[in-house]
Structures are given as C-alpha cells and as structure tokens.
C-alpha cells in the first residue's frame, strides 16, 4: 500500500522544521518515528501533502538526569526501556519495554507518541501518574506544559500549528516511591484492551502519603481515579483495601464494547490490573525488585 504522494523536507534543526511547517501550511505534518503516522498514511486516513522529517536533527534523542529525568522527544522507546532512568523509575520501563513489539520500539518515539495523543497509547497514563512536563517549541518560542494540560482530548493536544514537542521531563520521585504500569493485550502488536498506571509514595510500610492512579485505553483520554487515590492515602494497605481499590476502579471505568472485548470484560480487567499495579507499586516502594510485564490474553 502506498500513501498519497507527498513532498519531502528534511529539517536540520527544530527551528528550521518549525519554519518549514509553518510555510507549508495545514497540509504538512512532522514525521517522528512514523509508527502511527505511516500506517495511517498507508490506509489514507491521513494524507499530508508534505512531510517535514525530524529524524535527521541532531541532539534530539537523549536521556538525561539533571533535577529530573529528561527524554529528548525523538528518543526511541527501546532506548528509554534500556536507560538507567527507567531502571530507577520502574514504571517507565514497564511502559517503554511493553509498547507494541521490538521492531516498533526501535523506531517509535516518546515525543511522537504523546503528540499523536491516541487514546490507546501507552505513555499518557504513565506520564500523568508521574506529573511529567512537556517542553515544546513553536513560532512563539518555548513553552513548558504540565502533561495534564498538554493532552486535551482524543488525538488533540495543546500544540499550536507548527509547534512541536522537544522534551519530556519527569520529576524524580521522592524516597520510598514506587509505580507500575500494566496493560492487558490480545497480542503484542495490537492496541491494549485496558491499562492502568499507578505511582505512589509510602509514609511507612503500610500507608501511603501520596498516590496517583490512571486508567488508559478506556476513555478518550487517560482517566484519573481519585477515589482509588483517596483510598490509598487514608487506609492502611491491606488485602481488604486492595479489594476496595479494585472496586473503585471498576466504578470509575466507562469502557465501550468493541472487537477487543465487552464493556463488562474491560471493566473487570481494569479492576484486576489496578489491584496488580498497586500491589507491585507498593512492593517497589518498599525496595523490592519486582518485574511486571503486560498481560496477554
């Protein structure tokens, strides 16, 4: 399958890319890793007349740690998965190492993924749970946006025309923090049926001082489950409270039935994933090394 014919523009810097896109107008798009855009173009769901290629701009793929974990927008998922930052903040590794399959992780970028704002994308719930900041550059200069202000709706971000993402910064979690991200998928290359991101900080071994719980995939954007967060903050961590977290997530989830499963199936899946993610996050916050991966069923 061929996409519709388009003209190619290779940018050598972000400012050049921005001015190119702004000159070319609405029929132009930025190309990052292309793992969403190229399939959309091949299906002719997207048919830009110009592509401005960001892949040959130097210094756009990096992992840094100065006050925060910083990922260049063009950093490939596989490089994030293998980074020391992902080892230090395990929810990042759960996400980066679980996206699609090795081939897609070698090309797909974190910046491209969040700029796409696909409701079934993996990064949004994770970056929301971590209170990440998105740095952007556009005609009006640099901006720094909270991820919650950045993702507005399905496939809709706060990016202005010709503005692009340059960096994602994640504040370093406090001591005794842990998180987990788990998705339920039918198989690796397809979109998840449900996913849950949890990031929490323990007060002592049995109580949380802070917790973030987000559901992915099930709505137009990731959904925050404040009832579950509140439960984690006010009740000691016991089997009973875990059960209540599961129920709170099931109450909050509003899935729709589709080829990935019935609404009821997804609601149960979200509850079970949340319980598993909280249990994993607590263990990690206590200093245990726990590996989790996406579940395939």
């Amino acid at each position: 399958m061929y996409p519709r014919a388009f003209a190619y523009h290779r940018a050598k810097s972000y400012p050049e890319a921005i001015s190119l896109l702004s000159e070319l107008g609405e029929d132009a798009k930025f190309l990052a890793g292309g793992q969403s855009l190229i399939p959309l173009m091949k299906l002719r769901l997207s048919a830009p007349r110009h592509l401005v290629d960001l892949n040959f701009i130097p210094e756009t793929s990096y992992v840094r740690s100065n006050g925060a974990a910083r990922f260049g927008a063009m950093t490939r998922h596989a490089d994030i998965a293998a980074s020391a930052e992902a080892a230090r903040i395990p929810i990042l590794r759960d996400c980066a190492a679980g996206i699609a399959d090795p081939q897609v992780r070698h090309m797909g970028t974190i910046g491209g993924s969040i700029a796409e704002a696909d409701p079934t994308g993996d990064w949004a719930p994770v970056l929301l749970a971590l209170s990440a900041t998105v740095k952007t550059l556009g005609l009006a200069g640099e901006r720094s946006l909270d991820i919650a202000e950045f993702i507005l709706d399905a496939y809709t971000t706060a990016l202005q025309p010709a503005e692009l993402v340059t960096e994602i910064a994640i504040p370093l979690p406090a001591e005794r923090s842990g998180g987990a991200y788990i998705a339920l998928k039918r198989c690796a290359p397809v979109y998840a049926s449900a996913s849950v991101a949890v990031q929490l900080t323990l007060h002592d071994n049995h109580t949380c001082q802070d917790a973030r719980v987000y559901l992915g995939v099930l709505g137009l954007t990731a959904t925050r489950v404040t009832a579950a967060e509140e439960l984690l903050r006010v009740t000691p961590i016991t089997a009973d409270s875990m059960e209540k977290v599961r129920e709170a997530v099931m109450d909050m989830a509003e899935p729709t039935s589709d080829m990935r499963g019935s609404a009821e199936y997804k609601r149960h899946a979200a509850g079970a994933l949340a319980k598993l993610a909280v249990e994993t996050a607590v263990k990690r916050a206590r200093g245990e090394h726990v590996e989790v991966t996406h579940l395939y069923a």
Partner: protein, 166 residues
C-alpha cells in the same frame, strides 16, 4: 502531480554493498529493497505493521520495513535475510530453523530469522520468556510456533548470537 514532486536521494548500505537511488518520497523501505534492489527475500505480509514478515535490521536494530520510509534509511545500513549466509554457509540461525523445521510455508520465515538474529544479539542465551518477547512482533499462521521456539533455542546453543555476519 507526481511529476512535480522532487525525488529524494537515498544512499544506503545493504548487506555490505552501497546503493544510491532517487525515489519517490512515499516509497517504503520494503519496496525500496524489493523493487529498487531486487532483494525479494524481505516479504510484505499484512502491510499494516502487524505481522513482521518485512522485518530487517536498520543500523543494527530490527524494524518493520513496511512501516519505514526509504528515506529514513538514508546514510544507514540495512541487513536483510539475503545478507545472513556467508560463503555458501547458512547463518547459524538459518541452519537452526532448517534443522528444527521452524517453518511450514516459509512466508514469515525471513522476518522470524531477522528478529531471531536481533534477539540473540541482545540476549545470547534467551529464556522461554525472552524468546516470547523477542518474536512478539512476528506472526506465523502455520507452525503454532513450537518448532520456531526449538529453532531459536538451537540457534542460541550453536552460538547464533556470536556472529551476525558483519
């Protein structure tokens, strides 16, 4: 309209040999390999980034060449299934797939070979789970995967990760 669009120059080293072609911007890497270079060992299966039949290594990393534009490989290095055998000798991964009958119709096999080469490069002694993760982006509709697993274990035992041929 097509005549108005300038072609894009793609210079790429494929299986150790340098090629330069001026192509339509919309040409995908898999089409570049098959149609411009006549390297038809890389197959198009689903054409939607699902099945992995088109897997090649781009700059040492596996990619689905149906979901990469040819220009994204410009200045880079590609290894396809044609580049695995050396001096008439099958690559250890190819030999293991042959010995274990890790295929039936063979259509998906070039992609599985390339994903296996990549897996063993990163993880020379994979566990069952490592193999599952490593070939998660490749689909086989014939074998039920059992013989593919046997082949990957055999390739690892034969040191398939030690020599990628480059």
């Amino acid at each position: 309209m097509l005549d108005d669009i300038p072609r894009v120059r793609v210079s790429v080293r494929v299986n150790g040999k340098q090629y330069t072609r001026d192509v339509e911007p919309r040409m995908l890497l898999v089409q570049f390999l098959r149609e411009e270079l006549s390297l038809t060992g890389t197959h198009i299966g689903c054409d939607t980034s699902y099945c992995g039949a088109c897997t090649v290594l781009l700059n040492g990393r596996s990619v689905k060449s149906c979901t990469v534009f040819a220009f994204q490989a410009d200045g880079g290095e590609v290894l396809t299934v044609e580049g695995l055998a050396k001096d008439g000798q099958l690559h250890p991964v190819q030999q293991a797939f042959s010995d274990c009958h890790g295929f039936q119709c063979g259509y998906c096999t070039p992609g599985f070979l390339m994903s296996t080469v990549q897996l063993l490069e990163e993880c020379p002694h994979p566990t069952e789970w490592d193999i599952r993760k490593g070939i998660a982006g490749n689909t086989c509709r014939c074998t039920g995967y059992q013989n593919i697993f046997k082949a990957i274990h055999a390739a690892a035992a034969a040191g398939g990760g030690a020599d990628r041929g480059h």
